[in-house]
């Protein structure tokens, strides 16, 4: 049987499948469940400086080729999140499953503060969700949309986390994602997560309305996969840091495609709607079977192939 052990920065994951942020990551119980169902690592739901209720329903639907969601970054605030993460970390320790925290904020300074608060829980990695609007910008442009703001956030977070590595999570809706990747790596990002959801809209023609209460939401699931593969491919050819390739991975074969595009690990979120939480372990097992059939013994061998 091929070896699916994944070496990611200083971490050893039993497999490369990582629970993506915002799916099931709202409590220690759910993070532990994702770990027990076979994830190689788990990411908590993004948390910001203060509690947020999120948007009213509908917040998510399956529109046939993927999902669209606008949950609205509901979260309990950084202080409460740090307590939850500390408990999760203690429960994950015996399972050997690393914990990834995820943070967002409205200003660069707040990013630093949230990072500092979360650091107390000692997560193994802090993911920085920069797809949220920059409140200091006249148009609320997401931090992920410019090299300058993405780099500024990266620096602010990096200054506040001590020795905990950070992964900056990039948005697909930018003209040149490789440039943003280069900017955040230059600013100190240890890794990159790519990608967040793609902004979109789904309209119900009979109802004459967008289906989400927020009207606009993020596209995830199968429709996102080709976009994610392209982004990961372009980033991997520009920077040398490890990438958590995320977007539309539903099967072990999809995970293989993500690794071939240049990812070191693979994020999985929406697949749990169709396949249940067991999808995490199942996708890892399917990847191993595929590797055996394709003649790969380790993930590193796929990595070498991805550079060709």
């Amino acid at each position: 049987m091929p070896d699916v052990t994944c070496h990611f920065l200083n971490l050893t994951l039993r497999n490369p499948i990582i629970l993506a942020s915002g799916i099931l990551g709202t409590s220690a119980d759910l993070l532990e469940r994702a770990a027990r169902e076979g994830a190689g690592a788990v990411t908590a739901k993004s948390c910001g400086p203060t509690p947020r209720a999120g948007h009213p329903n509908p917040v998510a639907v399956d529109w046939g080729h993927g999902l669209i969601n606008a949950v609205g970054l509901s979260n309990p605030g950084a202080a409460e999140e740090a307590r939850m993460l500390a408990e999760a970390r203690a429960r994950l320790e015996p399972l050997g499953v690393p914990l990834i925290a995820s943070i967002f904020a409205g200003t660069t300074a707040e990013f630093g503060e949230v990072a500092r608060t979360i650091t107390a829980a000692r997560p193994h990695l802090i993911e920085v969700n920069i797809s949220c609007p920059n409140v200091a910008d006249e148009f609320g442009t997401p931090f992920a949309a410019s090299c300058e703001s993405a780099a500024a956030v990266t620096e602010a977070v990096k200054r506040n986390v001590g020795d905990i590595p950070i992964a900056v999570k990039l948005a697909p809706n930018v003209p040149d994602i490789a440039r943003i990747a280069a900017a955040v790596v230059e600013a100190g990002a240890d890794a990159i997560t790519a990608i967040n959801t793609m902004p979109g809209m789904v309209i119900n023609a009979d109802a004459g309305r967008p289906v989400l209460s927020n009207r606009i939401g993020g596209i995830s699931g199968p429709a996102l996969k080709p976009i994610a593969l392209r982004c990961v491919y372009q980033i991997a050819r520009t920077v040398r840091v490890p990438i958590i390739g995320t977007g539309g991975v539903t099967t072990g074969r999809d995970a293989a495609e993500m690794l071939l595009a240049g990812a070191t690990a693979v994020g999985v979120g929406s697949a749990m709607w169709t396949r249940g939480v067991g999808a995490l372990g199942d996708i890892a097992a399917e990847l191993a079977v595929w590797m055996g059939q394709a003649g790969y013994g380790t993930l590193e061998e796929i990595g070498v192939r991805s550079e060709e």
Partner: protein, 265 residues
Amino acid sequence: MHETFTITQIRTENYRTKTFVFDKPFSGAQPGQYVMAWLPDVGEKPFSIAGADPLRLMVVAVGPFSEALHRLDVGDRVWARGPLGQGFALEGRHHLLVGGGYGVAPLLFLARKAVAAGHTVDVCIGARTAADVLLAEAFVSTDSTDFNGFVGEKSVKSVPSVEKLSITTEDGSLGGRGLVTQAVEAAIHARRPDCVYACGPTPLLVALARLCREHTLPHQLSWEAHMRCGMGLCGDCELDAVTRQVAGIPAGWLVCKDGPVLRFA
């Protein structure tokens, strides 16, 4: 994605409850599953599937969304996605169904399925007062055109009623006085069921879980929580730790996707 449903009939069940019948079936829906009903500009909320062919929902007017549904007329449209979640699965051949308040909505659908399969069914309904008792006649009706209180129900020809229906009200204004759990205890002693199925308020479910454990009876209980995505992703519908512990519900269990029905052996 939401499908469009048009209301074909509306029946008033009591002072604050209406049943809506729609123009088409919800294929493959099982008793205990639910839909997320969407009214544009109002919101989206979970409702138990009270009948699948055609779709019917029983709605108690208690707040903004349910009141908006109550303002609708025949010919108006409602959008729904589903069927969502895990429903009831019949176990054995003699069943005890327990409904508290509007919890009877999925149970009539379940009773119909059990009776159609040639099984026997006892029902215990609990409510605050006589006016809150829902669907009592529908459970005992032997008129095929009336089993669900409506003409035109497809796929059921002649319908024997449930074996025994007992009603309990807190003030004794209808049936026995007290809590429905007393009636459940009596029903178990009169004829031990193969499985107990229940839907209703959390305290009722917690009490039933304890009772069924004492009697070593398999039980399937339908839980409620605030639901958002309905797809097992956002994590919002996890039950609070206290309820989970007293009822013996596994950690990380999601009402919207793993439930709403949880089977206990």
